[in-house]
């Protein structure tokens, strides 16, 4: 957790150079292996790129990507809102916490696949069950993170706020929120990494559209080039969210640190 909460100052010129070099090496290894095996089961990077462009032009990739992202967004926000509320409640109330602690441990340890199967069995192969399965998988992580965040709130600052009569709203926005914010961002970042993997499995098992479903189709056709093309597109989108939204939010939260 600590590396998420307190990331090292990065982005020096040399470190981005290393990142580029490492990516090029990966592509090179891929290209060389493709040449060595020379099989449709391991297509070369250029072939995958070609498929990617074709899929983009046909619109199939974008529509599937859109559907998956929609599911991801809905379940992400549901899990964050619910998890934050429960986490804060447990962090503030010792009795509630000791009662529900074992529930949390159980939920943290249920394999994602089990939740997904049970949701589909109990609620049917529909959108509700799909979203619910993702939310249940992510929820315990958010709860645990926010519970820790709530416990870590500095009581001496709350006393100060009480003396200087901050009132509820100022205390919440200037004293409590800044302390919870890093935990919220940490939960969001680990949550995103978790959720986008689970969403695909959910789609594979019980939906007839989205990235997961499409990957399943490609699997049955042994169409590895399309599988890789979809993977690249998905990784790209997730990285855009991570670097375009979550990282800047994280940096904003840490701006006052030395």
């Amino acid at each position: 957790m600590s590396h998420i909460l307190f990331p090292m100052t990065e982005n020096t010129a040399s470190s981005s150079l290393v990142a580029v070099a490492s990516l090029i090496t990966l592509l090179l290894v891929w290209q060389l292996s493709a040449l060595a095996f020379s099989s449709p089961l391991l297509p070369a990077p250029l072939i995958v790129m070609k498929v990617l462009v074709e899929q983009l032009q046909s619109g199939a990739l974008l529509s599937n990507l859109g559907i998956t992202l929609a599911r991801l967004t809905v379940s992400f926000f549901l899990a964050m809102i619910l998890g934050t509320t429960i986490g804060i409640l447990l962090g503030r109330n010792k009795q509630l916490d000791s009662f529900f602690d074992s529930w949390l441990i159980i939920f943290l340890n249920i394999p994602a696949l089990v939740t997904i199967i049970l949701c589909y069995v109990w609620f049917g192969l529909d959108e509700f069950a799909a979203i619910l399965a993702v939310v249940i998988n992510k929820l315990p992580n958010v709860v645990v993170t926010l519970r820790e965040g709530t416990r870590a709130i500095d009581k001496t600052l709350l006393e100060m706020a009480q003396i200087y009569r901050f009132g509820r709203i100022r205390t919440l926005s200037h004293v409590i929120w800044p302390q919870l914010y890093p935990f919220l961002i940490a939960a969001a970042r680990t949550g995103l990494a978790l959720i986008w993997k689970i969403v695909l499995v959910v789609e594979l098992l019980g939906r007839s559209d989205g990235m997961g479903y499409q990957l399943h189709v490609f699997f049955q056709l042994f169409d590895v080039a399309s599988i890789l093309a979809y993977t690249i597109a998905f990784i790209a989108v997730i990285q855009v969210i991570e670097w375009g939204i979550l990282k800047p939010l994280d940096r904003h939260a840490q701006r006052w640190r030395r």
Partner: protein, 247 residues
Amino acid sequence: MTEISVRIDQKIYPATGKAGEQFVIRNLEFSLTCGEFCCLVGPSGCGKTTLLHILAGLDNNYDGQITPTRQDSTEPSIGYVFQEPRLLPWRTVRENIEIALRPDQSTDYIDELLDAMNLTKAEHVYPERLSLGMSRRAALARAFAIQPDLLLMDEPFVSLDAPTARRVRELLVDIWHQQQPTVLFVTHDLREAIELADRLLFLSAAPSSLVTSITVDIPRDKRSDDNAIELFRQHLLSQFSEVKGLL
């Protein structure tokens, strides 16, 4: 203008772990008149901070009664300088002070205070980048800025270098003259206490109670005279043998 009468029959910290119940305060009674400057002196661990917490309303778990009353019978505003600065790390020095102001208070006074505290250059700096001494001065500025009815100060000048401490002491006395808050000031330093206070309250070791209350009759314009302070101190120590053991 705020008058305070304090009666604490007992204050106990409940047993935790291997430590048994702790009697911190027992039968402590005193009062502060409007605009009085009192220094609280007592051995370390005698419950001075606990007493300030109770006065500030942070700790209601005691037997006794505190009645702070303002002449217009509204709740008195309190400025509290804690032992640690307790600044919000995610707000700059200026923001930390502004945030404590009541809505009707103007921010103009802040500039004056920052200047007096030698913090003008640091007003937009986040507390983590300040030295402890600077953070302490920022916390003092916050307490002064709200122009409180009651000013509680818990060893506020520790870790300030001697010239700064002297300057801030003078500032405190100026502000006290102008605004007439009732001040309760905790210190270990008897000379500091004599220099500042109208009255010294000596507390015993825990469970603490009032040992004696001594009025400092040195005129205010003689307080900067080190000899006068020292003379008073010598006199006090020889006159009140019970005080000696508390220092």
